[in-house]
């Protein structure tokens, strides 16, 4: 899995409460992603069997059912691993960026 910023945010939103099923708009708000970025990501995760989806049962007459997404067991494991690796890479990258170039002042 190639970790990108949007994917990291989606996985982070899922992992905030892995047991809770989330619908698209909810994930959009949590991950701060537009729908055109979020849904292709969800489709990819679902295709890789890291996310499972299910339709809700409408509570009221005439209400359109929404589709809920949830990380699978494998999805939770991989998401935690990938996010841990991403955060481990980040301090190294920021330390490299902060280190002065050889021969420069400071």
């Amino acid at each position: 899995m190639r970790m990108t910023g949007p994917l990291e945010r989606v996985l982070g939103a899922f992992l905030a409460d892995p047991a809770a099923p989330r619908y698209g708009y909810d994930l959009m708000k949590a991950a701060r992603l537009p729908s055109g970025t979020l849904y292709p990501l969800l489709a990819r995760l679902e295709h890789q069997k890291l996310v499972a989806s299910a339709w809700e049962t409408p509570q009221q007459e005439g209400q359109r059912p929404r589709k809920y997404y949830q990380l699978t067991g494998e999805g939770i494991r991989i998401a935690r691993l990938e996010l841990a690796q991403a955060s481990a890479r980040r301090p190294r990258a920021s330390a490299r960026a902060g280190r002065p170039a050889p021969g420069s002042l400071g």
Partner: protein
């Protein structure tokens, strides 16, 4: 909210257009899923200001259209990315053509060829804009064909004024190449749309 039904209908229209670009086997499901979010966004209790909720709902619908158009793997996605690459130079070229044509008309108002150049420039601009809005429409094909024929007329006019200059003849022949290539593509594209469309809610 006032005008809620019209707003929802507009949102549904955008989602339907987005779904048309998806493979037929997932189209109906995606349409149901995305349109189910529209009323939820429009009644989002976390957003107090009603016009802002409407903007968010339409933004959601419009962005699904952008997302499906740019999705890798679909023919539409490949075409959209290619179009996004050539769009900016094409738009700059359009503006240059129109500006030069207007300048030429001002310089020599009696020259009929300058007016023809201006018509060509305007048709070029109109076809590029129309192609961005509705690539598969009949009007798009008509404007594109008219722009190419106008360019052809301009070059033949130039050839009539300077019969010894072979460059005009070569350019006139080259201008016809995109038309000859475009017409079968447009025919195939319309047939494909007619074949895949009209089977479910997402296609209506």
């Amino acid at each position: 909210m006032r005008g809620e039904r019209q707003l929802l209908r507009l949102g549904e229209y955008l989602v339907r257009r987005a779904c048309r670009q998806l493979p037929p086997d997932v189209r109906e499901e995606r349409y149901r899923e995305w349109t189910a979010e529209l009323p939820a966004i429009l009644h989002d209790p976390q957003v107090r200001f009603a016009p802002w909720r409407a903007v968010r709902m339409l933004g959601y619908a419009a962005d699904t259209l952008r997302g499906t158009a740019m999705t890798p793997g679909t023919a539409q996605g490949r075409i959209s990315r290619l179009r996004a690459t050539v769009d900016v130079p094409l738009q700059v070229a359009c503006l240059v053509v129109v500006a030069v044509s207007v300048w030429a008309v001002v310089q020599a108002p009696g020259d009929a060829l300058n007016y023809l150049r201006l018509v060509w420039g305007l048709l070029f601009v109109a076809s590029v804009i129309r192609n961005r809005v509705r690539p598969a429409g009949r009007m798009t094909a008509l404007l594109g064909t008219s722009a190419i024929l106008a360019a052809w007329a301009v070059l033949l006019g130039g050839a009539a004024l300077a019969p010894g200059n072979w460059v005009n003849y070569v350019l006139a022949a080259l201008v016809l190449v995109p038309l000859v290539a475009y017409l079968p593509f447009a025919w195939w594209h319309r047939r494909r749309q007619a074949r895949t469309g009209g089977h479910n809610a997402a296609d209506r």
